[in-house]
Subunit: 229 residues, 2 copies
Amino acid sequence: MILVKRGKTKDVYQNDNGMLQLLFKDDATGANGVFDPGANTVGLTLPGIGKRNLELSKYLFELLRNNGIATHYIDCDVDSSTMTVLPATVFGHGVEVICRFVATGSFIRRYGDYVEDGAVLPAYVEITLKDDERNDPLITQAGLQVLGIMSAEEYTNLVTKTQDISKLIKAEFNNYGIDLLDIKLEFGKNQETNEIMLIDELSSGNMRVSENGNVLKPFELIDKVLSQV
Amino acid sequence: MILVKRGKTKDVYQNDNGMLQLLFKDDATGANGVFDPGANTVGLTLPGIGKRNLELSKYLFELLRNNGIATHYIDCDVDSSTMTVLPATVFGHGVEVICRFVATGSFIRRYGDYVEDGAVLPAYVEITLKDDERNDPLITQAGLQVLGIMSAEEYTNLVTKTQDISKLIKAEFNNYGIDLLDIKLEFGKNQETNEIMLIDELSSGNMRVSENGNVLKPFELIDKVLSQV
């Protein structure tokens, strides 16, 4: 296996048949030891979180597969903390697609003049560039088009896919008495078919979830979901 | 006359017949004494710039009027540094609509991972909220809609109007051998007819203009245009 890339929370390897193996690590995003799924720096290590995030990802990717949604997921091996996935071509140098059901985090930092933290949003979708140096800047459909990152049609496609996936996960979590506040997805194109598919992980690092108004910490979220399935 | 508002570069009064009078001041946006049309703080005072900006605004608003474009402009009196305009209802707490023919300034600070400073852009339009405290955040069509600031139709309308106005000014400036790099416009609704119209000023504080690759300073820009008309 060849090491392709060391990421913040995962390392990426390529195996002999061209598939990728994602190794889930115990690092989490945040700052000064405080977890924040909206951060783009490694802020803390949570022993055991890699395996648990992999288990949540496995559960959610299989949920999506059962609902006919295209993803890069092939299978996973929890013992070795690895998920096997299809290789994908990302948009530009990578984008993040965020779906918000509640106004919080960077949305409030930008638009707090118009909305209170905690206000309900109707599956609002926005795209940011993966660019640590520039703090993951927001970008519009016109901006993505003018920089050659994606076409107007691909933008509309990503917005619809993101709303479908986010609503499905929100509905699933509602069965367990917890609320999905926002979720950050990544997409890429299948290198053989060119089909747009969900990539990356679906774990405590990608989403804010609350129970009775309190945002759940990473292990709390995972335990809550996996203890009930 | 009643003082309605003290602004950064203009004060706004209401006269007896309900029209507004904009008093152009000698303050300019920037930081630490350096002029920057993209800044949202008063950074310097340029003695005489208020009257000269008013003269450039008068010239450009009359150019637009002659081209059938709706604006708030009624007339102006250079001696008293005032422009008389129609009252308008702004979108939300005010938005700025930027048209970029060249990638520079905040566009590069956000998207420098994809484009070089100075690259040509095809009349790319983006909207920011007027919010000094939050440094005028960028907002998407979906964001403007979800916050109740404007509808999707109004967004499309503003983009088209902004491109039309910006291209007209760019073409006019090209006649004088200078290049419009970017321009920041404001719009409001006519309080009687609800028609969307261009508001604010059209001066050295709203645009970056270059000659032979050098960005012109405020007085240079105004002198260049007005000496040739």
